[in-house]
């Protein structure tokens, strides 16, 4: 069931629909809040306040943006007001640290990568692979983790992500590139570790 269908059921008083919507977004909401606030507990408070605001504003929500975008905007605004953490000054090392050890002095691969699709194929949703992916995302440092969560897990646009996190689009793209490269590396490690795909 998509978000809009759940919203209609919530407006009609359906408790389970609300529970489902919360389950769908709570992890990412807490993550975004955590980007701005200091502790997990206050991030959870922000998430809860967000849900209160969502329920209060639901009848006025006109669907000009997607529900998801609206939801994360509320959360980011609230977290920003609560938060004390400052991420705006981000020092991005211009020398690209991604996978440098994999290349020789001429910039050529020392050990070339192998395509994942041959290994995963239709098993893309394999729970063990997804678990490795989830863990890799969780291991990312901030602000990479929030960038990847909003962009690739939740599927928001880069422009939306940069607004929510108060980053320039250029920095958002660099952070995304680095975060994705680390997840890729972790997945490659899982594969090399002898995981059986078939």
């Amino acid at each position: 069931m998509d978000d809009e269908a759940l919203l209609e059921r919530i407006l009609a008083g359906d408790r389970d629909a609300f529970a489902e919507l919360v389950q769908r977004y709570q992890t990412s909401l807490v993550r975004v809040a955590r980007y701005y606030v200091k502790t997990e507990a206050s991030a959870e408070d922000v998430a809860q306040d967000t849900w209160i605001a969502v329920l209060k504003g639901l009848e006025r929500f006109e669907g000009r943006s997607s529900f998801k975008t609206w939801l994360f905007r509320i959360a980011a605004n609230r977290a920003r007001k609560t938060g004390t953490r400052e991420y705006r000054v981000i020092n991005l090392d211009p020398t690209d640290p991604v996978a440098s050890a994999r290349f020789n002095d001429q910039g050529m691969w020392i050990e070339p990568p192998a395509p994942f699709t041959e290994l995963i194929d239709t098993r893309l949703a394999n729970t063990e692979v997804l678990e490795a992916c989830k863990q890799a995302i969780r291991n990312l440092p901030e602000p990479q983790q929030s960038v990847v969560t909003l962009r690739d897990v939740e599927g928001l646009s880069t422009s939306e992500v940069s607004h929510l996190l108060e980053l320039s689009e250029a920095n958002t793209r660099v952070l995304l590139h680095r975060g994705r490269a680390k997840i890729r590396e972790a997945l490659e490690g899982t594969l090399k570790g002898g995981y059986s795909w078939h």
Binding site: R24, Q48, D96, V98, G107, L187
Partner: protein
């Protein structure tokens, strides 16, 4: 072989994420596509990156803790009471 390429593998890899997001300049996109056309290793990297992004989109959220669920259901019940008042 690598000497004839306009960019090195290391440089190509740095462009892949933006390439998949359609965020490269026309010039960089051409350079990368030219490189990919005769580099199997970087093409494999591109494939890995595509799969990585797709997998991230399939990651499921954590299950709510019992406490979070109780708290949020309280929120919902308060909302319902306010609706009917």
């Amino acid at each position: 072989m690598a000497l004839t390429k306009e960019i090195t593998c290391h440089q190509a890899v740095a462009l892949v994420s933006n390439y998949l997001d359609g965020a490269l300049s026309w010039r960089d996109r051409r350079r990368l596509e030219h490189h990919l056309a005769d580099c199997d290793a970087c093409s494999a990297y591109l494939d890995q990156m595509r799969v990585t992004i797709a997998l991230s989109g399939l990651v499921s959220p954590d299950d709510l803790s019992a406490k979070a669920l109780t708290d949020l259901m309280d929120v919902f019940e308060k909302y319902q009471r306010d609706q009917t008042d």
